[in-house]
């Protein structure tokens, strides 16, 4: 098969033009031919006329010659004298010129008249011979007989006439032929001409119609698509430029349609989120009002009782107060749950990973739950396969999750059995936990909504069994945060089984927690043993560090100190902020644990004093509060946030991360808040670096004044010019370019000995000995790299796919 070339518009136009030009040339050629024929005819006519004239002349000459011969003959008969030599000579030359005249006819001879001409020549030759001999023999009286000559003359005249008429005939015939040819070529010319016109017109028409139709379809399509019918596809009829345009247009409309669909989808999602938020609020309001109703109602009643000084029924009052209390507790539970949910939803719920034995925690929980299970006459059973690997996950959430599931199981089961089955799926490396009960179970429709907020199987359930209807929703979200999955199966009246899968991925090996899990266990046992004797205290040499606890509540202070001792830290204590600041200044602890809620000077003020004073601002402060103040705290310079009540393990991990004796050094990260920065921060924290973050020149100065960094990273989304400017500042090359705000900041913080900001800047720059690395997500251009004025190995690439460069640097330093 020969594949035909694509019939593009250009090809169509080219073919049309070539066809028209070819036809035009043909017309010209036929015209040329016919005009040549016309010329030929004209020549022919001229020929015929010339031939006529020549024959007339010849006839005249012949007749004259004949007359002269006749006269001479008559003279001879009369006895006239002889002819002179000149006269004979003249006669002979006349004869010669006559002969020449006849021969001049030759060019006019036609094919048809050649024979006649030859006969004429032969006839005249005979006559010529006669006449010649007449002249030669005249003086000798030996002339041929005139009769003979007469006859030859008559014959020649006849031949000449014949020739003449034949010539005319031939000329006429020729003219006729030529005329025919001319007419024929004329007709051809005309035909081709007309054909050319017709072809041009039809080709033009076809082209116009074709492009018009295609363009119309396109136009129609754009109007429909423009009108919002994004699903419309313009039919692709032609494999040419317009076809290409149509395809491109269809693709464009597809993309547009997809984009619109996405927008629509996200709008729907947003609407959905909005609706569920409104719903949540309405539910929330409802759930809060119900216990409040009891609290307010009973309180009012008790107040009334006292006011009216009726006989007070103490028993009744205690009962009512107990109701107020239980409603209050319910309310608190509700608020805590809602806060948890809100935290999860806003993405503020952080996962605090550590290595732990999940079976240990479950066993611990089972002993906690045992009395409650017993109350409902339930049997609590743990079954497990031999080896369940330790989890590297959030132990606190794990505990809360299983406590919730177990108390749910106890709540909805009476006189039954609650089983926890733990297995390990080596293939997917997941620990699998089944929490089953033989309780009331759920119907299929209840089952589908069980993880939704504020949904309990039945609205009366909460009245009968208590609970906020938020627990399972929180559990589910926890599991998702923990990178696991949670599922439920249930049959009404037969019981419910929750299945939880959690990954058992190995923790990334870190310098700081090189202690294997088993050893850790031993260690904690040891510590438990040692801490039981009150006299034991941590010796200065063995201690991991010194931690100052600032808390007004002696009980929580003592608790923290005990925790610290167990974790091998030396504890220092202060009962108020003033004392705390003084101890921090004098004793220079490695870390400070600061309670936010204190009388007189509160934690926030203490934090700002500690962070402003040059002698204490390098000490990491861990804030403590019942409320989650983490973000505000970190913004104000705290290093970490530890919620109250304190979880010992969490505290230990935080201390380990922040303890300068364990740390590799301080890293300053100058970059706007991006995913990459988060990634880099995580890497650095994992490698036990203490991280400071700055996003502007002002913050860079502030951070450096707080603590001189050991390593500096800059870039990751920072505008190139800002990078150059900050680099210049860090290298002491920025002269007097700071704005007033920065000047003020500098003069505020720099020792009084330096009085100009330029000096201050210079001293700041000389104080920086840390290596500076420019970090970018994508490779820099060579001119950009040059302008940074840094060695090539200090310009590194870092993104989620390539962390090798960073690891190299961290291993070096």
């Amino acid at each position: 098969m020969i594949s035909l070339p694509r019939l593009t518009l250009r090809l169509r136009l080219s073919i049309s033009i070539i066809a028209i030009v070819a036809l035009f040339t043909l017309t010209n050629l036929t015209y040329q031919l016919s005009s040549e024929n016309r010329n030929l005819r004209l020549d022919n006519l001229q020929n015929a006329v010339a031939s006529q004239l020549a024959t007339v002349t010849i006839r005249q000459l012949l007749e004259n010659q004949e007359k002269e011969i006749l006269v001479l003959d008559a003279l001879k008969d009369g006895g006239k004298e002889q002819l002179s030599k000149e006269e004979i000579q003249n006669g002979r030359s006349d004869l010669s010129s006559l002969q020449a005249e006849i021969r001049r006819l030759k060019p006019y001879v036609y094919a048809e008249t050649v024979d006649s001409y030859n006969t004429l020549l032969a006839g005249y030759d005979a006559l010529h011979d006669g006449w010649y001999r007449f002249y030669v023999g005249y003086n000798n009286n030996q002339t041929p007989s005139t009769i003979k000559i007469e006859r030859a003359f008559a014959n020649t005249m006849q031949l000449l006439s014949d020739f003449e008429s034949l010539e005319i005939l031939a000329a006429e015939q020729q003219t006729l032929d030529l005329q025919k040819t001319v007419r024929f070529t004329d007709r051809i010319t005309l035909t081709i001409y007309l054909f050319t016109i017709a072809l041009t017109v039809s080709l033009g028409y076809l082209l116009i119609r074709y492009t018009n139709r295609s363009l119309n379809e396109l136009n129609l399509g754009t109007v429909r698509i423009g009108g919002g019918d994004l699903k419309y596809h313009i039919p692709v009829n032609n494999d040419d430029e317009i076809g290409d345009l149509t395809i491109a247009f269809n693709e464009m409309s597809d993309k547009l349609s997809n984009a619109m669909a996405q927008v629509q989808q996200s709008k729907e999602k947003a609407d959905q989120a909005n609706r569920s938020k409104t719903n949540f609020l309405a539910n929330m309001s409802h759930e809060l009002r119900t216990p409040l109703n009891a609290i307010i109602g009973y309180s009012e009643m008790i107040i009334e009782d006292y006011r009216e000084e009726k006989a007070l029924d103490a028993e009744q009052a205690v009962e009512d107060l107990a109701r107020i209390l239980s409603s209050g507790r319910h309310l608190l539970q509700l608020i805590n749950d809602v806060l948890d949910l809100a935290k999860i939803e806003s993405g503020n719920m952080t996962v605090f990973n550590e290595t732990f034995d999940s079976v240990d925690i479950i066993e611990e929980l089972m002993s906690t739950m045992a009395p409650i299970a017993k109350k409902g006459d339930n049997l609590l059973v743990l079954e497990k396969s031999q080896d369940i690997p330790h989890l590297y996950n959030d132990a606190v959430k794990f505990r809360q999750l299983f406590l919730n599931l177990l108390s749910n199981a106890c709540k909805f089961t009476h006189n039954g059995k609650i089983t926890i089955l733990v297995t390990y799926n080596a293939k997917t490396r997941h620990a699998v936990y089944h929490v089953s009960d033989t309780g009331i179970g759920m119907t299929p429709s209840q089952l589908t909504r069980v993880f939704e907020a504020f949904v309990q199987a039945d609205s009366s359930t909460s009245k009968k069994y208590g609970g906020t209807g938020l627990g399972l929703s929180i559990c589910k979200q926890f599991v998702e945060l923990m990178d696991g999955s949670m599922d439920v199966t249930s049959a009404e009246g037969e019981g419910t089984t929750f299945t939880i899968l959690l990954p058992t991925r190995a923790p990334i090996q870190k310098r700081t927690d090189a202690i294997p899990a088993e050893n850790q266990q031993e260690l904690s046992l040891d510590l438990k043993a040692s801490s039981s004797s009150e006299t034991t205290s941590v010796s200065e040499e063995d201690a991991l560090g010194r931690v100052l606890v600032i808390d007004d509540d002696p009980e929580s202070r003592q608790l923290l100190l005990r925790h610290l001792e167990k974790e091998n830290y030396i504890g220092l204590e202060a009962g108020d902020a003033k004392q705390g600041i003084a101890i921090a200044n004098e004793q220079q602890p490695d870390l400070i644990l600061l309670d936010l809620m204190m009388p007189n000077i509160d934690g926030w003020t203490a934090l700002s004093v500690l962070k402003e004073s040059p002698s204490t601002r390098h000490i990491p402060v861990i804030l403590q509060s019942m409320l989650d103040e983490k973000n505000l705290g970190l913004d104000l310079g705290a290093a970490e946030f530890l919620p109250k009540p304190v979880d010992r393990q969490r505290m230990a991990t935080i201390l380990r991360h922040l303890n300068p004796q364990d740390r590799r050094g301080a890293a300053l990260l100058i970059a706007p808040e991006t995913e990459s920065r988060k990634l880099l921060l995580e890497e650095l924290t994992d490698e036990a670096w203490q991280c400071m973050v700055a996003t502007s020149m002002a913050q860079v100065i502030e951070r450096i004044q707080q603590k001189s960094p050991d390593i500096i990273f800059i870039g990751l989304g920072m505008p190139y010019d800002s990078v150059l400017e900050i680099l210049a500042m860090l290298n002491g090359k920025l002269n007097g370019k700071l704005n007033d705000g920065l000047n003020a900041k500098l003069s505020d913080n720099i020792d009084a000995s330096t009085d100009s900001t330029e000096d201050a800047l210079a001293s700041l720059a000389t104080a920086i000995t840390a290596p500076i690395y420019v970090v970018s997500e994508t490779p820099l251009g060579s001119s950009q790299s040059r302008r940074l004025d840094l060695p090539a190995d200090q310009i590194i690439l870092f993104n989620k796919d390539d962390k090798s460069n960073l690891e190299k640097i961290l291993n070096l330093s």
């Binding site: 309001s285 409802h286 009002r289 009891a294 109602g297 009245k463």
Partner: protein, 121 residues
């Protein structure tokens, strides 16, 4: 003696309201769900009904509609008591046939005023 039927499934709230209203001199009868309420009203019609809306078995809205459909109880004064406090919740309660509406936690003097208002009307 004014007789009031209190329809409320929450034991604590039922106990509290019963006692408070009795102190004000009303005779209180209580029902824990819609069906029980309908039965008690059919047996002996009270002067006024205080109705919680989130009730098991037959909810408050359905109970009200049923009362309004019955000629014997079509003008029985009903006050909705609910923890649903959105504007559309009040409309919903009134559409179901409640004469008045009050949200939890209950403002007791206001509730008394509403009861008084409906009884004297």
């Amino acid at each position: 003696m004014t007789r009031i039927l209190l329809v409320e499934d929450n034991e604590m709230n039922r106990d509290m309201l019963t006692r408070r209203l009795e102190r004000k001199g009303f005779t209180i009868e209580a029902a824990g769900d819609g069906e029980e309420a309908l039965k008690k009203i059919a047996a002996s019609q009270p002067d006024l009904v205080l109705m919680d809306m989130n009730l098991p078995i037959l909810n408050g809205w359905a109970t009200c509609r049923e009362l309004r459909a019955n000629p014997a109880t079509e003008s029985l004064p009903i006050i909705a008591l609910t923890a649903h406090a959105m504007a559309e919740d009040e409309q919903k309660a009134r559409a179901a046939g409640c004469n008045d509406y009050t949200t939890k936690p209950i403002d007791f003097p206001l509730l008394l005023a509403k009861i008084d208002n409906l009884l004297t009307a």
